[in-house]
């Protein structure tokens, strides 16, 4: 006969101790950083230590940079928090971009259309309501079809992103200032109507606080609430959910409404809180990055703070490298990609172990 006996086989692991699990992940990240350093060195011919220092500098070097880091984290975390309950339910919501964009559109619409006619407090309340509603509508449409007909949500939500982008593009041209520029510019620059108030002197603090609140809320919602329990059961097994008397369609739509609502808030924070304008790229692909943030953290909101930090740190750090060393902007995406590949690979070693097959007494 031909053939040789397999030398190794792979088996599922039982429970893994938490420190071992995090140890494996830490090793993966460390290896990834080493590789990234090496690649950076190859691309720039620079001492990798210097590269890491530059990255740290880019994030923590000045208080402005540090606040920028926090602000970027807040926005990315907000989208990720929105996606987490849906993923927990095994609903692949890749529409975070579109849902946030719709929230942004809602907020901008309020600022532009009724901005100078009503008191600011009322305006902000209306903005909140409208952007949340916009996010919800954008999330519930695919959820409805998923619940009713089992329509593939991954691609549906994905397509909704582009429909949202074109919708925003449409309104950008309608509202462009000045005509023909194709841009809206800063909205209500003079009146600051609809601009979120600043806490103290810091432009970003309010956003950060709001997102922290949402973090705690989502943690409690998923961990301790009845809704959270229901969506986890639906995600694990629809048959079990039916057996437990859970109304699956209702849970799918409700969870996606929550997802959309928080995405709507993300858009609101971007328009009302920081950017005060509307562009088609205002969300900057965070809906996709958020998928990875949520996944890497295994949907735990507090761990998501760490994964958000990792991704934003890399992004801003490599942005700093690119400016200092005159590299291209997209260098950060490559670095992020590599780190993600390593962390995704490390999951394998958390779930499986490789065992050597017992030597076989081969009849020679």
């Amino acid at each position: 006969m031909h053939n040789k006996a397999p030398r190794f086989y792979i088996a599922r692991r039982g429970d893994i101790l938490w420190y071992k699990a995090w140890g494996i992940r830490a090793i993966a990240i460390a290896l990834a950083l080493l590789l990234c350093g090496f690649i950076t060195m190859a691309a720039t011919g620079l001492d990798p230590i210097k590269v890491y220092v530059t990255m740290l500098d880019g994030n923590f070097g000045t208080s402005r940079r540090f606040w920028m880091l926090l602000q970027n984290m807040a926005i990315l975390l907000c989208v990720s928090l929105a996606l987490a309950p849906a993923f927990r339910m095994h609903f692949w919501n890749l529409g975070g971009d579109g849902q946030s964009l719709m929230g942004a559109l809602g907020a901008a619409a309020c600022m532009i259309c009724i901005g100078d006619r009503i008191p600011n407090v009322l305006l902000i309340i209306i903005m909140i309501a409208v952007s949340i509603s916009c996010g919800i509508i954008w999330a519930v449409i695919p959820a409805y079809f998923k619940a009713r007909f089992g329509t593939n949500e991954t691609l549906f939500t994905l397509m909704m992103n582009y429909v949202a982008t074109q919708l925003v593009a449409f309104f950008v041209i309608i509202w462009e200032v000045p005509k023909g520029s194709g841009k809206i510019g800063i909205i209500n620059q003079s009146t600051q109507a609809g601009w979120f108030p600043q806490i103290g002197t810091n432009k970003y603090l309010l956003n950060i606080i709001i997102v922290l609140f949402i973090t705690v809320f989502i943690f409690i919602y998923m961990r301790y609430s009845k809704h959270g329990y229901e969506l986890a059961v639906v995600g694990e097994s629809e048959a079990t959910a039916r057996y437990a008397g859970i109304k699956i369609n209702r849970v799918i739509i409700r969870t996606m409404a929550l997802s959309g609502a928080i995405c709507g808030i993300t858009g609101l924070l971007l328009v009302g809180g920081t950017d005060h304008t509307l562009t088609t790229t205002i969300v900057a692909g965070r809906g996709f990055t958020g998928v990875m943030v949520a996944w890497l953290a295994k949907f735990n909101p507090f761990v998501m703070i760490a994964t958000t930090f990792l991704l934003v740190f890399l992004e801003r750090g490599s942005a700093e490298i690119t400016t200092i060393f005159g590299l291209n902007q997209s260098f950060g995406d490559i670095i992020t990609g590599i780190i993600l590949f390593f962390i995704l690979s490390s999951d394998f070693f958390l779930n499986y172990k490789i065992t050597k097959t017992k030597t076989q007494k081969e009849a020679a």
Binding site: A11, T151, F156, M292, Q329, L344
Partner: protein, 328 residues
């Protein structure tokens, strides 16, 4: 009318060919049970690798050898896409990582890779516009059939394309034939439907997944190459490829996993993609933006219709998106 068609169809085809490559590649991949959302990234990598190859060859040589001028970019493109396919397989098949997340990570990486090297080349070439033009290579790639100009309207609509365009159609036909009429295709379908069954029948599931996904990736990558050297006349500018990768994935559903349908569907999508350029002059620019929704809305409608009709033959491969572990 004919006049309009002569203007419209070639452009729709030009838009459609990258989608055709992407969707045929993705279909082959999905037939093995792998949902590769990294296709967008792979197409970027395919495109930029071709550009790098062409750039190196063009800058080193005053006149191009037509054979090398085509095969260097082509080879680079295929090698780059193959590397991406291997990476995806290693992560999802060997290490059983989640396919959706890996796909997204690959898109981040691939788009970044394309833009990084694209940007670097632009800098190297010292151009004052944010793009790089490889017109000589493009000239080789975009050569039409010699008789196109003599054949009147027929020539313009059917014969005025480059070899990569006809290759796309040929690949779609061949893929369709292999999937439905050969032993390999039968095994591949079995792997995507039920890997455990295929395994029990003695089919090497892992090998099929690897090979199908890598071939799919290489085909998808050609879409990027076509886009740069034919559609964009050899001009690479960052982010120009846009969201076509996602459209290609959507097309797979639209074509209910049949590469042969991809031929007309891609061109139709290409038409939808450029529809906004053909609305009468003087229409509000904002309305144009709404027209650009067309391909996405069409995909959504198709998604809904196939899910409502729910025919057994029109469903995705049953194991799509799941990793296979034969000890369970």
């Amino acid at each position: 009318m004919l006049d309009f068609l002569i203007r419209f169809i070639p452009r729709a085809v030009g838009q459609g060919i990258p989608l055709m490559y992407g969707s045929v590649g993705e279909t082959i991949t999905e037939k093995s049970g792998n949902l590769n959302l990294g296709t967008a990234g792979i197409m970027y990598v395919g495109g930029i690798c071709g550009v790098i190859g062409a750039f190196l060859y063009e800058t080193g040589n005053k006149t191009l050898n037509p054979f090398l001028g085509i095969f260097i970019p082509l080879g680079c493109c295929i090698a780059g896409s193959l590397a991406m396919g291997l990476l995806y397989c290693f992560l999802t098949v060997s290490l059983r990582a989640n396919q959706n997340v890996c796909g997204l990570a690959m898109t981040t990486f691939g788009v970044g890779f394309g833009n990084f090297f694209g940007g670097s080349l632009i800098k190297l070439s010292g151009a004052d516009v944010p793009s790089i033009a490889l017109s000589k290579t493009s000239g080789l790639f975009s050569q039409k059939l010699p008789i196109a100009d003599q054949a009147g309207w027929f020539g313009k609509i059917f014969l005025s394309y480059s070899f990569l365009a006809y290759a796309a159609v040929a690949i779609a036909l061949i893929a369709s034939y292999i999937i439905h009429n050969t032993r390999t295709g039968l095994s591949l379908r079995a792997v995507g439907e039920s890997p455990a069954t295929a395994d029990a029948a003695g089919i090497d599931v892992i090998k099929y997944k690897y090979v199908a996904t890598c071939i799919g990736a290489m085909i998808s990558g050609l879409g990027g190459l076509y886009y740069v050297f034919d559609y964009a006349s050899g001009v690479w500018s960052n982010d120009a490829f846009g969201d076509r990768g996602w459209l290609a994935i959507a097309l797979v559903i639209f074509t209910i996993w049949q590469p042969v349908h991809s031929i007309w569907a891609s061109i139709a999508f290409g038409g939808l993609y450029i529809l906004h350029m053909f609305i009468p002059a003087g229409t509000n620019l904002a309305i144009k933006e709404l027209y650009q929704m067309a391909p996405f809305l069409a995909t959504i409608i198709m998604l809904i219709i196939t899910s409502i009709r729910n025919r057994r033959e029109n469903q995705p491969p049953a194991s799509l998106g799941l990793s296979y572990f034969n000890m369970e």
